[in-house]
Assembly symmetry: C2
Homo-oligomer: 457 residues x 2
Amino acid sequence: MSTDAVSMDKIVSLSKRRGFVFPSSEIYGGLGSSYDYGHYGVLLKDNVKARWLEAMVRERDDIVALDSSIILHPRVWEASGHVSGFSDPLVDCRTCKQRFRADHLADPEHEEIRCGKRPSKRPGETPDCDLTEPRQFNLMFKTRVGAVEETGVDVYLRPETAQGIFLNFKNVAQIARRKPPFGIAQVGKAFRNEITPGNFIFRTLEFEQMEMEFFVPPDEADEWYRYWVDQRFQWHLRYGVRESHLRIRPHEADELSHYSSGTSDIEYLFPIGWSELEGIANRGDYDLTRHTEFSGTRLEWVGQDGERYVPHVVEPAGGVDRSLLAFLVDAYDEEVVGERERTLLRLHPALAPVKAAVLPLISKDAAMRDKALALRDELRRQWSVEYDEGGAIGRRYRRQDEIGTPWAFTVDEQTLVDDTVTIRDRDSLEQERLPIGAVRGELADRLGRPWRTPKAD
Amino acid sequence: MSTDAVSMDKIVSLSKRRGFVFPSSEIYGGLGSSYDYGHYGVLLKDNVKARWLEAMVRERDDIVALDSSIILHPRVWEASGHVSGFSDPLVDCRTCKQRFRADHLADPEHEEIRCGKRPSKRPGETPDCDLTEPRQFNLMFKTRVGAVEETGVDVYLRPETAQGIFLNFKNVAQIARRKPPFGIAQVGKAFRNEITPGNFIFRTLEFEQMEMEFFVPPDEADEWYRYWVDQRFQWHLRYGVRESHLRIRPHEADELSHYSSGTSDIEYLFPIGWSELEGIANRGDYDLTRHTEFSGTRLEWVGQDGERYVPHVVEPAGGVDRSLLAFLVDAYDEEVVGERERTLLRLHPALAPVKAAVLPLISKDAAMRDKALALRDELRRQWSVEYDEGGAIGRRYRRQDEIGTPWAFTVDEQTLVDDTVTIRDRDSLEQERLPIGAVRGELADRLGRPWRTPKAD
C-alpha cells in the first residue's frame, strides 16, 4: 500500500490499541486535545529525543545542552513579545455560541469551521451567525506564584523553550568557554492555550519541543541558516522518513516575523496534508537585543581581543510529538503475506520501542522457555527487549510487527540440539539461524548499520 | 576528607562554576527557588532518569512505562483529595509582614523561621510579632484552559505524577495484558507552590518525579511493601551512594496518611541533615476506590475466572532533582595529590555526564591532535565523550575530575610511534598504556563492570 493512503484514524487506532498514545483523563470524559503516552509511546518518544540530542549535541563540538525552567520570570515574556503579541483574534457567534478565529472565517480550508458543533452551519455563510467584534486572546497559560493571591506574582507556562536559552546565553558562553558560532539545545515541555487544537497529537495544549539556538557572527547568519535547513532535513531522512514525504517551504515575505530575514518550514505529508514538521528561522539579533533592553544585562559577545558584537541567532525548532507522529505515519504499513494480513511499523531500528523479541516456539516446553528467558536476560542488560510466550508463534510475530520490533529471536527444537536460534527480520520476513552465543553481537551489529526504509519513495 | 563535611555552598558553587545547575532567570533577578540545568546537569539528570527506568522497567517483566499529561481533568484532584487537603496553614505577622507556616512556628528547627527577612526577630518570641489566625493555602498551581476567562475551566498543574497513573490503571492493564502484581512507572515534572522552598534543588517550585505504582492483590500488599523498600534502598547503593549516608525511616502512626498502612522514607545525609530522598508507601485501595467513586468507572481487577478485587497499591516515589543532589554530594571530594589540590566528583560511571576525555598531550602537535580527534569521533558514536586541547595536561585532567569523568585517554609522543595511548583513572590516578584500537572495547568493558565508590563508608 502507499502511505499516502494512511488515514489518521488508522494511526489513532493503532496508537490506542497498542498503548502508544491515548486520550488523557479518559475516565473523567477527557480534556480536549490532551494525550497520555503508554509504554511503547514512552519508549518511542525517548528514542526520538535521544536521536535529536545525539545529532545536535553528542556528535558535535559546538552545541551544549540546557534544561531551563517552565516557569520563568514574567518579564521574559514582555521582552520576547509574547505578552503583547502571542494572541489570536477571536469572534463569537451570538446565535450558535461557537467561537472562531477571526482570521480563519474567510478561509474554507480551516477544519475547525467545518467541524464545529453545528457543522451544517458555517459562520459567515449562515444568516443566523451573528458575530461579535474580534478580540485578542493570549495563548499563554497564566498562573500565580506566591503564598496567597494578593501578594503573588503572575507568571506564565512557557509557550516555547527558546526564551530559556536566550536568558542563559552569556552564562553558558562563559561556563562552557564558547565563542560564536556555537549553539544551545533544549528538549522540554511547552504549553499553549490553543483555541483550535486537534488532529490527534499534531496540535495539543501541552507538547514537547526540541529547540536549538545557534549564535553566530552577524555576517555568517545566512550561511548558517542554509546549513541548518539542510542538516535538519537530513536528520529526518536519516531516521527513515521518505524523501517524497518531506519538503522545504520557505516563508513568504508576509509570513515572516518582522525580525526574521528568513524562515523555512520542513513540511511532512501528514494525513491532514502538507503541514509543518519543524521550522528553521534566521532570527537576527532580535532576541538578545530585546533581553538586553529589558534586563539591563548586555547579551553580547566580547572577545579577548576586544571584538564585540551581538550574535545573530539561527533556530531549528521542532516538536517531539509531531515528529513522533510523522515517524508513525511514515512507518505504518499493511500487507498480505501468504493469506494473512499484517499491520506493521517499519520504524528505523534506532527509533523502535523494542529492539528485539525473544520467543520460545512452544511455550509449554520448559527447556525452550528457559533458554529464551536466559537470552532475554542477557539482551535486556543493554537493550529494550521483550519476551512473549502467549499464543501461536505467528500471532506473536504479528504483535511485534505492529509495534515495529525489527528482529525476533526464536528458540525452537533445534536450539535444544545445537544451541542455534532463528532471527526473523520484520521487513523482509527472512529467517536465518545463528548460534545463541552470537545473538548479542549480531544485534549490536545490526543496530549499528545504516538503515533505509524498504518502502518505495 | 569526609563527605559529612561537604557544605551545600561547595555543591552550589561547583554546580554553578561548571554549569550543572544555576539559578533560573538570573538576568531578571531570578525567580525564587527555580533552577536551570546546564550542559553537564542535563547529561547527569538524563543518566539518573535512565538508570531509574532501567531498574524499574527495562530489566523487569512486570512494570510498564507511562507519560501522562501535566494538566489533567480537574476532577482528578477532587478525587485524590488534593483540592481539599493539599494545603499548608499560613499565618502572617502584621508587624514584620512575614509569612510563616503555622505548624512550624513552635518548632525551632525550621530554617525558614530563623532565616526570615529579619532573622533577629523570631515570630512568637518577639513581642512585636502580631500573628493572624492560620488560613489554609493550597499548594497546587491553578490555571485556566479555554479560549476566554468566562467560559474557561480551572485546571491545576499536577503536584505529583501518581494520579496520572491511577487514571490509566484499567487502560494499561488491558492494553499491556497485565494482571496484578504489575506496575506502571512514570518520570515527569510536577509543580508545587511551596511557601518554604529552598536548600538549592532540594525543594523547588517545579521538579521532576520518578514514581511507580505497583498494583497487587490485597493480601500481598505488606510483602510487596517490604520488597520495594529494599529494592529502592539497593538502587541508591548500586549507583555508589555510601550505605552510611542512607537510612530507612518508617513513618510514625501520626505521620501516616489515613489510608496508608505503612510508609517508609529512604533518607540521605544531606548537608542540611538527614532528609527524605524517596518515600515508599503502602497506599491500600484508596486511590482506585476514590477514582472509581468520582469517575463512575470501576477500577478493579477482573480475572477470566471471574475473580474480582480492587488492587492495593505500593508506591516508591522519588525526586530526580533530589536524587541528583544526593549523588553530587556523595561523589564530591577534595584531595591533595603531590602538592596540588584537586576537586573531584567520584560519580558512578553510569551516572557520569562524560564517560571519557580524549586529550592530545601537546595541543600544538598536529599529528597528536589528529589522532585524538579520530579517537574522539569513534567513541562519541556510542558515548558522551569530550575532546580538550586547552592548557597544560594537568589542568585538563583536573577539569575532567571536577565534572566526574571516569577516564581520560591521552595521545602522546609514544602514540605517534606505536599507536598506544594512556588511560588515566579518575579515582586511583593510575595510568596504563593500551593500543588505540583497543580503547573502544576497554571503555565498553569498564562501563559494564560493577563499580563501588572508593570513598570510605
